[in-house]
């Protein structure tokens, strides 16, 4: 079966003043449909870069990123947006909620992008994350954990095949973090969607199908039920 996400020999560098920093070095991996994958590693190991490449928020210097048969390197900015609207739900560490919109309106945004705003569905999603009674609240009136739950509802708005979560609990206390992670994984599992979860913590309570560890821009270890060493690069 064709994997949903295929990352092939991807390298990415950033220029910082006069130096060049290698964020990813010849990374390859494959993620199947419905898998829950956790990517962990210390800060600066390339986790967010990898997620950005899969979300078509950035382009690799070398290699290919193919998601649902789409080669992301070939996409124009407009088609990359369409790809994100149709295929990807994103949960950011800083939530990235629009502050002047209510929780409900924030959840509606991805639907508007696809031209099919559905207020009922947005309310259901808020209900799913336990915020049905706070739909009219603006982000500033919500706690960090609540904001991240709104972000999860927003990520699920268009029922994407791939959910990307970049350190979703990075700004939360342990209790809130536990609740958010539980919500995220259960929501994704219930829908049979693929979750790519980036965290700097090696251990979380949630069970995942695959766990990748990144260090210095390379995958140093792969573990999990469906792990196949030949799909992943190692130093």
């Amino acid at each position: 079966m064709q994997p949903l996400v295929s990352v092939r020999s991807v390298s990415k560098t950033y220029r910082r003043e006069r130096s060049v920093v290698g964020a990813l070095r010849d990374v390859s991996l494959e993620i199947g449909q419905g898998e829950l994958v956790r990517i962990s590693g210390p800060s600066g190991s390339g986790k967010t870069t990898l997620l950005n490449l899969i979300a078509a928020l950035d382009r690799p210097d070398q290699g290919q990123v193919i998601v649902a048969g789409i080669d992301l390197a070939c996409l124009s900015a407009a088609r990359a947006s369409k790809y994100r609207a149709q295929q990807v739900g994103m949960v950011f560490q800083a939530y990235n909620l629009i502050p002047q919109l209510s929780a409900l309106e924030n959840v509606l945004l991805p639907m508007i992008a696809l031209g099919r705003a559905n207020k009922t569905r947005a309310c259901e999603l808020l209900d799913l994350v336990g915020l049905a009674d706070r739909s009219d609240h603006s982000p500033s009136q919500l706690s960090g954990g609540e904001q991240q739950r709104v972000a999860i509802a927003r990520a699920l708005a268009n029922d994407p095949s791939l959910v990307l979560a970049d350190e979703p609990t990075g700004n939360l206390d342990d209790q809130s973090a536990e609740r958010v992670m539980g919500l995220l994984t259960s929501a994704v599992r219930e829908r049979g969607r693929t979750l790519l979860l980036v965290t700097h913590q090696r251990d979380t309570a949630q069970t995942v199908d695959k766990h990748l560890e990144l260090r210095g821009g390379v995958i140093t270890s792969v573990s999990g039920m469906n792990t196949s060493d030949d799909l992943c690069s190692a130093p």
């Binding site: 928020l57 900015a77 994100r84 991805p110 696809l114």
Partner: protein, 419 residues
């Protein structure tokens, strides 16, 4: 509603900056509008001068001879043939001197015409109807104007027609130089008339404009008919139309040279006065344009900077919209719309302020006296200029944000700490 909130909501402390940017842009707009209104007014004045004064037209006139005109004619005298211009202009000599410039020939006669039991003074103009209509203005009330090939027909102004008691189709006699009468048939009645280079009015005659010091009435006939009445083809006056206004000095020199031995023939031009008006207009343009440009550069850049700050603060919002699947154009649409609304509001406020406070008539500085007072005008040129300035200011403020969003990876913008 979401788009309204995305565009105008959540300004926070940046609301003051948005307001300041609008006020500065409005003040800029008002200053620029006022300056451009004066420039437009000056341009209109100059255009009017070109249209009315016709600097490309040179007048060649023989002297109006009052002594001959005032020949005693009291008592029961027959109608007299009274030449009012002396000496006369030789048309061949005029054509030669004018070269390739267009010559508009005229014969202006003054006749005592039999009207009922008395005589009526009336001006008779022999003209080339096709050429004359390009220079003078004739407004027909009834009938038709003169045409080429017409003979012994006349077009009268309403005042003369009324005084003579004639209408379309009627005839009236005019004594020819040989002593016989020529019956002129009326084919048209004029209700308005503006003869370019009209002779001075110095005798009682029916008049359309009683207060005018120039002749504003009379009977118009083809020049062939007037030659028949006058008994000669000599001209009383003529106009020479230069190919361009700048050819006028050379044309005037040639005409003066040709008629240097005829002290009673005067060659006059308006080109010199027009040139002084042009100089005044250029000065006006330079002065007020400099003022506008300086204002735009100083205040416009300040407003742009304020807008830039607003956009930078909202940059991550726009990036988030694109990251959520909005096309890049829609992602930055709130920024563009915000800028346009602020810009248009500033233009409207500035334009209205300028319209309200700029005087209806602007007296030019004494150094620009030749152009005279101008009427500041707000028109589409001024409006478009204001709009262009507002759009430019907004564009400059937006450009770095737009480039960042459209040219750089979204990941970089999303990692900025300013949502």
């Amino acid at each position: 509603m979401i788009w309204v909130k995305l565009t105008f909501g959540g300004f926070g402390r940046r609301f003051v900056e948005a307001l300041a940017a609008t006020i500065v842009l409005a003040a800029t707009g008002a200053t620029v509008a006022a300056s451009l209104m004066v420039v437009e007014g000056a341009r209109n004045t100059l255009s009017r001068a070109i249209r009315q004064d016709r600097p490309d037209v040179v007048e060649v006139k023989s002297r109006f001879n009052r002594a001959l005109f005032e020949t005693p004619r009291s008592g029961n005298l027959p109608p007299l043939t009274i030449p009012v211009y002396e000496p006369l202009i030789d048309p061949a000599e005029l054509e030669t001197a004018a070269g390739d410039s267009q010559v508009v020939k005229r014969q202006s006669l003054f006749r005592n015409v039999l009207s009922g039991d008395s005589f009526l003074n009336i001006y008779i103009f022999g003209i080339d109807p096709d050429v004359e209509r390009g220079l003078s203005s004739f407004s027909l009330a009834r009938g038709r104007f003169l045409g080429r090939g017409d003979h012994a027909v006349a077009v009268l102004d309403q005042a003369s027609a009324r005084a003579l008691g004639v209408d379309i189709g009627a005839t009236f006699p005019v004594r020819k130089a040989d002593g016989t009468d020529l019956q002129l048939t009326v084919v048209g009645i004029l209700d308005r008339l503006a003869l370019r280079g009209a002779p001075p009015r110095s005798a009682e005659a029916p008049s359309l404009s009683p207060d005018s010091t120039f002749v504003s009435s009379g009977a118009f006939v083809n020049i062939e008919t007037s030659e028949d009445i006058f008994g000669r083809d000599s001209l009383t006056d003529a106009l020479a139309v230069a190919r361009t206004a700048s050819d006028v000095p050379a044309l005037v020199a040639k005409l003066r040279e040709a008629f240097r031995l005829e002290p009673g023939i005067f060659v006059t031009e308006r080109y010199s006065q027009y040139q002084r008006k042009v100089r005044d207009f250029v000065l006006t343009l330079a002065l007020f344009s400099t003022m506008s440009v300086a204002t735009v550069l100083l205040a416009g850049s300040f407003a742009s900077n304020l807008l830039h700050d607003i956009y930078v603060e909202r940059r991550r919002q726009y990036a988030t919209l694109i990251a959520l699947g909005f096309p890049p154009g829609m992602g930055i649409a709130p920024a563009i719309f915000l800028g346009l609304v602020l810009g248009v509001a500033a233009v409207v406020i500035g334009g209205l302020a300028a319209h309200a406070f700029v005087p209806r008539t602007f007296a030019m500085p004494s150094l620009m006296a030749d152009l005279g007072p101008t009427e500041p005008t707000i028109d589409w040129v001024v409006g478009c200029s204001l709009l262009a300035i507002a759009i430019a200011a907004v564009g400059v403020g937006l450009v770095s944000t737009a480039l960042r969003l459209l040219r750089q990876p979204l990941a970089i913008t999303l990692s900025e700490d300013n949502l």
